[in-house]
């Protein structure tokens, strides 16, 4: 490579004394392939400094560069008249009417949480909150989507307990209510928990601000916490598989969250934005100052020059490399209006925080880093942020999955034991059981806006001063995606939309978190591609564009990947908050109506997992047209105030859904008497997770309207029974069987399961 040698003599960027020499091993350690490194050398026209290598390794990591996902993600629909900001910014933004805009985004912190569950989850929440308030929006709600292995392991209980405490403590301290989420337990997540956090923020439409470095000569300032050595190379770390001894080797990367500082930073940032003293603001998230500064420059088509000697640090002797790549939490980069720096400083001082000028916006399109005036890195900003090579790989379905999908499930149609016993067992399965143990650790009511708390189909936040509200949910059944990625991803979108209509919200847009294994493996890439295609198709059908999201690859331990888990975070709008419906049956004598049809599709069900530890079969089929009709019918019913309750039918099937409606919040369980005439085995009727079903209840005189609306939409609908009294049993009669359960025993199984399990000790060690 003689050209490179020649270039070296030309450069003004000399190697920094004390920095290691760049060797092929060092390049490989930085996660760059030989081809990628050659491309960088071409770009630079000279040899790199160690600092520059660090910068490239972060920006061209999977986490920042989206190498293996970008091409497919481009296929997703991103536009609609109500979308104000699509993918590319810190968060997506939609118009919700009456002058309000909603910013929302989901983010993963899987790898950090596997190493240190409490801090990993806490800092995950901290990061997603910053993404929202850097858009100018005040965070108004958090949701968390979690996956763990089976709870019989002390280590898994430790991870679960730690993650929940971390999610809770951070959001609680800041004062943002948690309004929902999911928790799934399955051996498929044993070594790799999934921790995805979603945040919603509200703003007046004109308060929107973006993260770009506009105005040549404007100063760049760091605000908030000081920079320490924590989290160096977090972005690269998130782009690798975990190895057996990850705990040891990953220790220096653990970051500790400081929600108190974040709360001050939140208030200070919103005040800064309102003051007009700044033109841009960006969270220092993955890859710290490097990504925030270079991305802000890239977006504005400008350059930046920053001096590492000016950055307030927490520890002595930090090198430019360390400062650039630190992922210390609770920091922001802002571009101030020239001459108004002091206003920035005084706002930050009021909130007992620091702000410091570290550089300025330049016109040469370069990302230039100095150390006390000496240049240590000098790179063209645009290729750095957007030039990362992207790949479309070969994807091939794993043979084992094909076989699994074709498993004959007919033997499972015969119940192993009596139906009531199986039913109670299912209600007490951690996946079905009430997640109260989780969300009672969360503040769900702070900010006095939570109209539907966790426990409902979707969380709802009202918009003060209007009649409106926004709803949000996260959903994904990883088993379905595992068994058939395209259908599974479509189901995730459909379920999210179904959850929204059940509270009376019109689904409007999604953010997604694509949690997968190693994309370099053909069968993983196949899962990824199929899932993206399924998501695309479903989003088009529901008119819910994708306004942003996050990709988390390499969720593997010792070569075994998690179930592909494309979590869908969907938001919806409610025009009249007084029309919100809950999921609980209300009143004796109300009719219970089933919308949609029962089938014998048992594949991928919780029933199979609980009774046979089996994840097999084909996931239930999904007809997007029918699903859309169902959802529109339910919206029409809520708009007409015909309903007393609505609940989508998913995990655990019809029996578990009816149970959840009957048990409500546990205070006043109410009996039901239901008669089903499906010509199907009882196991299928009760426990199959067929799609496209919603259970509603309504006053008896409303049933005629409900059935008429269903008919107009071409949705199968039947009155299946009625709500009885608190003293009556929970009774379901079928042509070939009957199930009768006691409400007190059901409540004990359903509400008691998680507390009982979590009473057993948990240990950090295996």
């Amino acid at each position: 490579m003689s050209t490179v040698d020649e270039a070296v003599t030309e450069t003004l960027v000399a190697p920094r004394p004390g920095d290691p020499e760049i060797t092929p091993e060092l390049v490989a350690d930085h996660g760059l392939s030989v081809e990628e490194y050659e491309r960088i050398l071409d770009l630079m026209g000279r040899q790199l400094t160690f600092t520059e290598l660090g910068v490239f390794s972060a920006m061209w990591s999977e986490h920042c560069g989206y190498k293996n996902s970008k091409r497919l993600l481009r296929l997703l629909p991103t536009e609609a008249p109500w979308v104000i900001q699509g993918p590319g910014e810190n968060a997506g933004v939609i118009d919700v009417g009456e002058g309000y805009a909603l910013a929302f985004k989901i983010e993963s912190h899987n790898h950090p949480s596997a190493v240190e569950p409490y801090q990993g989850a806490a800092t995950g929440v901290g990061g997603i909150l910053r993404d929202i308030f850097t858009m100018g929006a005040r965070p108004v709600a958090v949701l968390d989507s979690l996956r763990f292995g089976d709870l019989d392991s002390g280590r898994v209980r430790y991870l679960f307990g730690g993650v929940v405490a971390g999610v809770g403590d951070y959001g609680n301290c800041i004062g943002v209510p948690n309004i929902g989420g999911e928790v799934v337990f399955d051996r498929g997540y044993e070594g790799n928990p999934i921790v995805n956090a979603m945040c919603l923020g509200l703003m007046k439409t004109e308060e929107l601000i973006t993260a770009s470095a506009a105005g040549v000569g404007n100063p760049l300032m760091t605000v908030g916490a000081r920079t320490g050595r924590d989290g160096i190379h977090g972005a690269t770390f998130a782009s690798e598989e975990l190895s057996e001894d990850a705990d040891e080797s990953s220790r220096p990367q653990v970051q500790v969250g400081d929600p108190f500082t974040e709360k001050l930073l939140l208030e200070a940032s919103l005040e800064l934005i309102a003051s007009g003293a700044i033109t841009g603001i960006q969270d220092m998230g993955a890859a710290g100052i490097t990504s925030s500064a270079s991305e802000m420059a890239g977006r504005a088509g400008n350059g930046v020059e920053i001096d590492m000697a000016l950055v307030p640090v927490r520890e002595q002797g930090m090198t430019p490399y360390e400062i650039l790549l630190s992922e210390s939490q609770e920091r922001m980069l802002v571009v101030a209006e020239k001459g108004r720096e002091h206003e920035v400083v005084s706002i930050l001082e009021k909130w007992e925080l620091e702000a410091k000028v570290i550089g300025q916006v330049t016109d040469d399109g370069r990302f230039r880093v100095l150390e006390g005036g000496v240049t240590v890195a000098d790179i063209l900003a645009l290729p750095l942020t957007d030039g990362c090579p992207t790949y479309e790989r070969e994807g091939v379905e794993g043979e084992d999955i094909k076989l699994l999908r074709e498993t004959d499930l007919s033997e499972h149609m015969l119940p192993r034991g009596n139906l009531t016993g199986l039913f109670r067992k299912l209600l007490g399965s951690p996946n079905i059981a009430s997640k109260r143990w989780v969300y009672h650790q969360y503040d769900t009511t702070v900010r006095t806006a939570t109209a539907v708390r966790p426990g409902g189909d979707a969380g709802v936040i009202r918009i003060r001063g209007t009649s409106k509200a926004v709803a949000a949910t996260t959903d994904c059944n990883g088993r379905f995606v595992y068994l058939q990625p395209r259908t599974g991803a479509m189901i995730a979108v459909a379920e999210a939309a179904r959850n929204l209509v059940c509270v009376g919200a019109q689904p409007t847009a999604i953010t997604n978190n694509l949690n997968f294994g190693n994309p370099l493996k053909a069968h993983i890439y196949y899962q990824f591609r199929e899932a993206v295609l399924g998501m695309k198709e479903a989003c088009e059908a529901f008119e819910t564009p994708v306004t942003g999201g996050n990709v988390s690859f390499y969720n593997e331990t010792d070569g075994v990947a998690i179930y592909p888990t494309p979590v869908i975070g969907m938001v919806g709008v409610i025009d009249d908050a007084s029309k919100i419906v809950g999921q609980a049956f209300q009143t004796e004598g109300d009719d219970i109506v089933l919308l949609g049809e029962n089938t014998d599709e048992l594949g991928g069900s919780e029933y199979l997992y609980v009774t046979a530890r089996l994840v097999a079969g084909a996931p239930p089929s999904l007809d997007l047209g029918k699903e859309r009709a169902l959802q529109q019918a339910v919206l029409m019913m809520t708009h007409g105030r015909h309903l007393r309750s609505a609940r989508d039918c998913s995990d655990g099937g019809l029996a578990c859904t009816l149970a959840e409606c009957a048990l409500g919040d546990g205070e006043a369980p109410i009996g039901i008497s239901v008669e089903l005439d499906d010509d199907l085995p009882p196991v299928a009727v009760l426990f199959a997770e067929s799609q496209g079903r919603i259970v509603i209840s309504c006053a008896a005189d409303q049933t005629v309207h409900v059935l008429r609306i269903a008919k107009e939409h071409g949705v199968p609908a039947a009155k299946i029974g009625s709500v009885t009294t608190g003293g009556s049993p929970f009774r379901i009669v079928m042509p070939e069987g009957k199930m009768e359960a006691d409400l007190v025993e059901m409540a004990d199984a359903y509400f008691g399961a998680l507390p009982r399990i979590m009473d057993a000790p948990s240990t950090a060690g295996a």
Binding site: G228, D247, G257
Partner: protein, 90 residues
């Protein structure tokens, strides 16, 4: 077998952010103690336990630290004996 009292001190690892220490440091400074340069906060855990001898007690306490009391990822620990054996049991 005798009873021992052990004191376990669990501290944040150097370099790891210590938000508690930071807030207390800030508070002490604003209360006028300017000579305070740094503050770190950990836990002091007192264990009363029965063991064959002091060495065994120390060993048990260290095992407890590794398994439960300290988080190896973010914390370090030290164990010390507080009192001489309080009383012997047969």
């Amino acid at each position: 077998m005798s009873q021992f009292r052990l004191e376990v001190r669990v501290k944040p690892r150097p370099g790891i952010l210590d938000p508690q220490g930071k807030a207390i440091h800030h508070a002490l400074n604003s209360l006028g103690w300017e000579g305070v340069d740094d503050v770190h906060v950990g836990k002091a855990i007192y264990l009363d336990l029965v063991a064959d001898d002091a060495d065994a007690a120390m060993e048990a306490a260290e095992a407890m630290c590794r398994k439960l009391l300290a988080n190896p990822v973010t914390e370090t620990f030290e164990v010390s004996l507080v009192e001489e054996p309080v009383g012997a049991e047969s």
